[in-house]
């Protein structure tokens, strides 16, 4: 019933025209570019290496499937830590190249830049996983999920270790800490899968049963580390 009188209520409750509205709102300039558009723009500023590495993983997977190489599984699994390391390096480029201050003082600010890069590279990793895992599992005749988990665990492990190291004073001194972590993880994969014997089979059994949960746990850990990196990115001494 009140809605019948809506226009009259409008009149009854109207207020005198505000005087300072335009001047005030002029200072609150709206965004010309949405956050989504900005994230997309950042894609152009991620170095080619990152995309090439992702392409390499997919390439090796496909080549392995076509040539029916069982070793493709291992090759791909060993490449994943490096993909993670490169993602961490790209996310931290602002600090490395001395752009942090300038980027922080912008509308979108450094946090958005780091978030954008992590999002884009995370999406790329996901796409790699979605292509490579089924392709490889076609060769090995192990489930696609199992294959995906085998790939994802070294990726997340490398990332969740590299991120805090990059934030630490060691990370500030050297550019290579993430690559070092990746190399260690890759080496461990190589060693255990070729000479591990019982340890390797044991690992595969654990992954077979609990793999998805382990992966989710590592995902949560990685996400927490990424969140910390984003928050600390704008911190000055």
């Amino acid at each position: 019933m009140a809605s019948d009188y809506k226009d009259l209520l409008n009149e009854a409750f109207s207020a005198p025209a505000p005087k300072g509205k335009d001047a005030f709102l002029k200072n609150i300039r709206p965004r010309e570019v949405s956050l989504f558009a900005m994230i997309w723009q950042q894609a152009a500023y991620i170095r080619v290496t990152a995309w090439l590495l992702a392409a390499l993983v997919v390439g090796v997977a496909i080549a392995g499937a076509v040539l029916k190489l069982e070793s493709a599984q291992n090759a791909v699994t060993m490449l994943m830590p490096f993909t993670a390391a490169v993602a961490v390096i790209e996310s931290n480029r602002s600090r490395r190249c001395g752009m942090s201050e300038l980027e922080t003082a912008t509308r979108f600010s450094l946090r958005s830049v780091v978030l954008a890069r992590m999002t884009l590279l995370g999406a790329a990793a996901l796409i790699v996983l979605l292509i490579a895992a089924p392709v490889i599992s076609a060769v090995t005749c192990e489930g696609a999920v199992f294959t995906a988990v085998r790939m994802v665990i070294p990726y997340l492990l490398t990332m969740s270790i590299s991120l805090p190291i990059e934030r630490s004073s060691l990370g500030r001194k050297t550019d290579l800490s993430s690559l070092a972590v990746a190399s260690v993880v890759a080496f461990v994969i190589y060693y255990v899968s070729n000479f591990g014997g019982a340890a390797f089979t044991g690992y595969l059994q654990v992954i077979g049963r609990w793999g998805v949960l382990i992966a989710l746990g590592l995902l949560a850990l990685t996400a927490a580390q990424q969140w910390k990196t984003i928050n600390k990115s704008e911190e000055l001494a």
Binding site: S3, Y5, L8, L9, A15, P18, K19, K21, R31
Partner: protein
Amino acid sequence: MDIEEIYDKIYRYVYFKLKNQSVAEDITQETFLKYISAKGSIHGYEIKYLYTIARNLCIDEFRRVKPDPLPEDFEGPVTDAHRTIEDRLAVREALKKLDPEDQELLLLRHVNGESVGTICTMLNISRFAVYRRIKNAEERLRSSLEGIKDGK
């Protein structure tokens, strides 16, 4: 909804509370600034928080300054020429007879078009309580209007 509309809504609400144009504008702008300070930007605004801030600022203003016994007498522009003068006067009279709380609800719901959820957060009461109060306010407006029309 763009930022101008939000400004208008908050301003209309604060004017209703304080009945003074320049104070209402100051408080409207202060509402925006407080929100920006807390949330880092006005973009991605949540109007329920803007209302909450505005409401609290109005309460502070009441405490600070005794309300003017002779509030500004303002009549807004005519929006629908088809309505009779009697109707217009009747609605105003009927509104004046309502409690400020009822008036506030009618403003928020029917003029500013706010959702029950928003009003809930503002007044910090349950959805059910909001529904009930709005219904009661509408009922009181209706009977008040009937009373006025019968009286004529």
